[in-house]
């Protein structure tokens, strides 16, 4: 693989303030919104090469490259896709990634200070929707002087943002690349989401969301939520291959209720490392963003939205993904097509379950690269 984008820095900008507050789709108002974002590559003269990366539930603005002082072997979360010569080629594209509204990685969210009280929002942060996440991205683009995107790209919750964006704002996105996403969570998805939420909210240290500054955090609940989530991100096959029934650090089982199998140890580690970098309230808010997502609720509206726009869609799914299975992707492609949109669809073979969108599977990257080349050529 060629060299990546090298050293990068997360930047911050205030996109809504007291004079120009953010009004959410629900009508609620957030007085001040700051956005953390990164950019890679150069914006060209006619500002036609901007590509926006929308991140998933646990992602952040650091999509590619290395932060100063960080382990060079641990670049941004989508580094294999973004960089010179990579499918999102930073020699040709200006790539932007921003932490979402409600996040905990620099963009205003439930852990931010509510200017009205001087205290962290906690659960007083208003409920948000994918639509609101998109509007904050758009405010960032306005600050950067970009009116139209060559493409919006995202996996999982990121794909949902790319989809909603293209529907709500016709003419703003040349191509929407929607990977391992869903236009409507299934009852099973919502059920898993409910268990994760319960795990957090029943943690005694949750304190109704007001755990900031108490010295306690609902770490046990958040770790449990992450463990549950992680099971749904992997496939049975990848778990079998990775862990099988092997015992952690031993040949024979210890027989007991402590962590014994390798898969248990792995989940435990995933849970623990997650609480060190993530906020429980953000998990609740973004989980709910996904649960309520329903962009095709009104077919007549969808038709009007598609008719008014010129977005081309690439919808990709992975055969081992059972969180957002290929059926989710087919349904999304079907609804877009029924509304008249040009949609290219492919199911890609990959053993990594829902997480497949993060892996550098050559087959997957070839399709993304080909689609980007075409979008660039049609500008």
């Amino acid at each position: 693989m060629p060299e990546g984008v090298g050293l990068v820095k997360t930047q911050r900008v205030v996109v809504f303030d007291r004079d120009h507050p953010l009004t959410l789709d629900s009508g609620a108002v957030i007085e001040e919104v700051e956005v953390a974002y990164e950019t890679y590559g150069e914006l060209n003269e006619d500002r036609s090469n901007a590509v926006f990366i929308c991140h998933a539930l646990s992602g952040d603005a650091h999509a590619a490259g290395i932060h100063e002082g960080d382990d060079p072997n641990r670049p941004g979360w989508w580094d294999n896709l973004i960089g010179p010569g990579r499918p999102l080629d930073t020699d040709r594209f200006f790539v932007i990634c921003a932490n979402v509204l409600g996040g905990c990685k620099g963009t205003t969210g439930p852990s931010s200070i509510d200017p009205a009280t001087g205290e962290p929002y906690g659960l007083r942060f208003p409920l948000i929707q994918v639509r609101d996440l998109v509007n904050v991205h758009r405010a960032l683009l306005a600050k950067l002087g970009i009116e139209k995107l060559l493409a919006a790209v995202g996996g999982s919750l990121g794909g949902m943002q790319a989809l909603q964006w293209s529907l709500d704002h016709p003419g703003e996105i040349g191509g929407a690349l929607i990977v391992a996403a869903s236009a409507r969570l299934s009852a099973q998805n919502i059920a898993f989401s409910a268990v994760a939420r319960e795990a957090i909210m029943r943690d005694p240290d949750f304190a109704d969301g007001d755990y900031y500054g108490t010295g306690k955090r609902p770490d046990r609940g958040l770790a449990l939520a992450r463990m549950i989530g992680h099971i749904t991100y992997l496939s049975e096959e990848s778990m079998r291959e990775k862990f099988g029934r092997r015992i952690q650090d031993a040949e024979v089982p210890r027989y007991g209720f402590d962590v014994d199998f390798q898969v248990e140890s792995y989940l435990h580690y995933q849970g623990q490392s997650f609480v060190e970098r993530f906020d429980a309230n953000t998990y609740l808010y973004l989980g709910r963003v996904m649960d309520y997502f329903d962009p095709f609720a009104d077919p007549v509206r969808t038709r009007t939205q598609i008719a008014g726009g010129d977005t081309r869609f690439l919808v990709l799914s992975f055969d081992s993904d059972w969180r957002f299975s290929t059926e989710h992707a087919r349904e999304m492609a079907g609804e877009l097509r029924a509304a008249g949109a040009p949609v290219t669809f492919r199911e890609i073979s990959s053993p990594h379950g829902h997480d497949s969108f993060l892996f550098p599977t050559p087959d997957y990257h070839q399709t993304v690269a080909g689609y980007m080349d075409r979008l660039e050529a049609s500008v």
């Binding site: 081309r312 690439l314 087919r330 492609a333 079907g334 097509r337 029924a338 008249g340 040009p342 949609v343 290219t344 669809f345 492919r346 199911e347 087959d363 070839q366 399709t367 080909g370 689609y371 080349d373 075409r374 049609s378």
Partner: protein, 197 residues
């Protein structure tokens, strides 16, 4: 563009919503979209062809056309196209019925196994024919359901389809006229049909 695709494009007409089953590299759809104001969707199993469609900006689903047809909603298209592919599908009868279900008009092109050269090859040499239009040998051919024009016309009727137009073609897919029309099942190397329910 292949000459037979020119004929197909002519039969499709303008401003149609077209489903191209086994769309190859997307040449036909690109022409229909860019020159004839059509919308369209291709279905293609071959990955190189799938990526060629992306390169042309033609919307395409990667997959098996028989499965994709089953997933396609009733009357979601104006016109379904199957060019030089019927002979390669597992269930030609079901494919025709499904094409009828998803669109009121169907365009099908196929090689004619009843052409006199093929008949004499088999009759005189006792060998499975290999021709420019059917270049494979019996063991490596994707063409598992070869038929004559007469056979196809029977099947079309059986599927409740009416033949609106039949254009006879030579091995290059060019329109043949004159003598060929006297005994098409014997003299035409192939044909493009325009059908409707």
């Amino acid at each position: 563009m292949r000459a037979d695709l020119d004929i197909v494009a002519g039969l499709v007409g303008r401003d149609q919503n077209v489903l191209d089953l086994g769309c190859g590299d997307g040449t036909l759809l690109e022409t229909l979209i860019e020159r004839q104001g059509c919308r369209g969707l291709g279905v293609e199993r071959d990955l190189d062809d799938f990526h060629a469609c992306i390169d042309r900006g033609v919307p395409v689903t990667h997959g098996d056309l028989e499965q994709e047809l089953r997933r396609t909603g009733t009357e979601t298209f104006d016109c379904s196209v199957l060019s030089l592919t019927l002979q390669a599908v597992r269930h030609p009868d079901r494919v025709l019925e499904e094409m009828r279900r998803v669109a009121p008009r169907q365009i099908v092109s196929l090689p004619n196994f009843g052409h006199w050269r093929l008949r004499t090859d088999l009759a005189l040499r006792g060998r499975m024919p290999v021709t420019p239009m059917l270049p494979y040998r019996w063991y490596d051919t994707p063409n598992i359901h070869l038929c004559t024009l007469a056979d196809f016309e029977d099947l079309a009727r059986q599927a409740g389809l009416e033949i609106r137009a039949r254009i006879l073609v030579d091995a290059d897919g060019r329109r043949k006229s004159g003598l060929t029309g006297r005994a098409p099942n014997l003299l035409a190397k192939g044909a493009v049909y325009s059908l409707s329910a």
